[in-house]
């Protein structure tokens, strides 16, 4: 019985070999290019490895990295706090309040972060006498504080738009349903609207964090020694190109790590939406 079954079994024909089409050749050529570029990169860094350089500049890169992370983290937090009233003002039906909030958001989203940093760092210095009178000069004298101030205002504008879009994306029926149950407006907002809005806002918030980390590199130009600032200083002393390559590796690692962490968070928080 089984013998008969064996003899009648038909061999599955082998899969036809994939033809070397033009796209396939181009694709593998490009992959080979990246592989060679990566190999060249590693060989360059291996040959350029200089223990004196690493011992001298390694700790400085580390302190620069800490400056970047602290600066971005604090401005994101302060920006998040500031973005709430701005977003509420953007949602308000009062044309004056709405107009002011709109102008604020439009200004900070429409101009380069670098120009904003210059405006704060160099521009506010012009009013040192007035600032001394109200006791704020100590704050604005320091480049780090100026960067923090500019970043906070900038990210608050972006985060306000994220928040506003997310709140508006929650269907009106959610408000009406809560009203029908006699739930107070604030409670409705906090416990019904906001949780649904934050799920929508999750991805844009992640993008904003990454944008801020990348954008923070410009503080090097207003003499804050963040990762980019330390890199520039190291380059201007050694004229060794590997200083920039190390910075690129570090930035890439931070951004990729954050992106993956954010993907995990999103997967976890939206697991009830999976079908």
């Amino acid at each position: 019985m089984s013998m008969a079954a064996d003899t009648t079994r038909v061999e599955r024909p082998p899969a036809p070999p994939k033809p070397w089409t033009r796209t396939r050749i181009i694709g593998w050529l490009l992959v080979a290019f990246w592989a060679l570029a990566g190999l060249g990169f590693v060989i360059y860094l291996y040959n350029a490895w200089n223990i004196d350089l690493v011992q001298k500049y390694g700790p400085r890169y580390w302190s620069g990295l800490k400056t970047t992370i602290v600066l971005v983290g604090l401005s994101l937090l302060a920006g998040a706090l500031l973005s709430v009233p701005v977003a509420l003002a953007r949602l308000s039906r009062n044309p004056v309040v709405n107009g002011i909030a709109y102008a604020y958001v439009y200004f900070f989203r429409g101009t380069p972060l670098l120009a904003q940093a210059f405006l704060v760092y160099y521009g506010i210095g012009q009013f040192s006498a007035e600032l001394k009178a109200i006791g704020l000069w100590g704050f604005f004298r320091d480049a780090w504080n100026c960067a923090f101030f500019a970043f906070t205002l900038n990210t608050a504008a972006y985060q306000a738009e994220i928040l506003r879009g997310a709140i508006q994306s929650v269907p009106k029926g959610q408000w009406e349903g809560a009203d029908a149950l006699g739930i107070r407006r604030w409670y409705t907002f906090l416990r019904i609207i906001l949780p649904q809005a934050l799920i929508v806002a999750l991805r844009p918030y992640g993008n904003e964090i990454i944008l801020m980390i990348k954008g923070s590199a410009i503080v090097a130009i207003i003499t804050v020694y963040d990762l980019m600032g330390e890199t520039r200083r190291a380059y201007s002393r050694t004229f060794d190109f590997q200083t920039y390559l190390w910075a690129a590796v570090i930035y890439l690692l931070i951004v990729e790590t954050l992106r993956n962490i954010w993907d995990l968070i999103e997967k976890r928080l939206t697991r009830h939406l999976k079908r």
């Binding site: 089409t21 796209t23 396939r24 181009i26 694709g27 593998w28 490009l30 992959v31 290019f33 990246w34 439009y106 200004f107 429409g110 101009t111 380069p112 972060l113 670098l114 120009a115 904003q116 210059f118 405006l119 160099y122 521009g123 506010i124 210095g125 012009q126 009013f127 980390i213 990348k214 954008g215 923070s216 590199a217 410009i218 090097a220 130009i221 980019m228 890199t231 520039r232 380059y235 190109f241 920039y244 390559l245 910075a247 690129a248 930035y251 890439l252 951004v255 990729e256």
Partner: protein, 236 residues
């Protein structure tokens, strides 16, 4: 107030002519980067939605790198990297003079590369918005795959991708400010010089911000005109 009027006048005493030339440079850089970045971005999007895994891998490596690096760092890598590379190449063939890379070209290349990696995402999601039937229809009437792409898919693709590309254009306009750091005489550099010479930093950097805002507003008007034109086939 008179002092401000003199500072902002046209000619030897004022800075208006210098700043105006900066505006021209900023707009020229953004306009020069746009076609380069869009074309590159389109091909990367094609590679990303290809059925060939190696092509997808190569395109994904590209976008991961250039979306992960700060724009300023990309610019420095291009500017100093090309400078060092060219100097060493020239040394190898006997020239010993160092050379200076044109900051406009370096900026155009660096911003174009960044633009293309973001544009590829926009094009990719636009590709997903085009039903398979459009390709099948194109093949059914006897068009080659190139013709189908050019005559059937591309016109629809651009319409879908337009809002995303418009956003990227506004980002590009702002990113050109970074090139002032490597010495391009754009808005920010010219107003910076004016600020240093006249000691009126707040005024001049404020003007720089306002000029960027004006450019953004003009762009928005232009973009909505293009969008209306692109949507005229949808009008009923």
């Amino acid at each position: 107030m008179d002092k401000v009027a003199i500072l902002l006048s046209w000619g030897d005493q004022g800075w208006a002519d210098e700043i105006a030339s900066g505006v021209v440079v900023t707009v020229a850089l953004a306009l020069a980067t746009l076609p380069f970045g869009m074309l590159l971005g389109f091909f990367i999007a094609l590679a990303k939605q290809s059925r060939e895994p190696s092509l997808r891998l190569a395109a994904n490596i590209y976008t991961t790198i250039f979306r992960g690096l700060p724009e300023l760092l990309t610019l420095f890598l291009v500017y100093f990297g090309v400078q060092i590379g060219l100097t060493q190449a020239l040394k190898a063939i006997g020239f010993s003079e160092g050379i200076e890379v044109n900051s406009f070209a370096a900026g155009m290349f660096a911003l174009g590369v960044v633009f293309s990696s973001y544009a590829s995402e926009v094009f990719l999601s636009a590709f997903r918005g085009i039903p398979q039937g459009q390709y099948e229809g194109g093949f059914a009437v006897g068009l080659s795959s190139g013709q189908t792409m050019r005559l059937v898919v591309l016109p629809q693709l651009i319409r879908i991708a337009l809002p995303g590309l418009a956003n990227l254009w506004l980002v590009l306009l702002k990113d050109t400010a970074l090139v002032s750091v490597v010495g391009l005489s754009d808005i920010l550099r010219q107003t910076g010089i004016a600020a240093r010479v006249s000691k009126e930093a707040f005024l001049f950097y404020g003007i720089a911000c306002l000029l960027y805002l004006v450019l953004a507003m003009i762009s928005s008007i232009g973009i909505s005109a293009i969008e209306r034109r692109a949507a005229r086939g949808n009008a009923r």
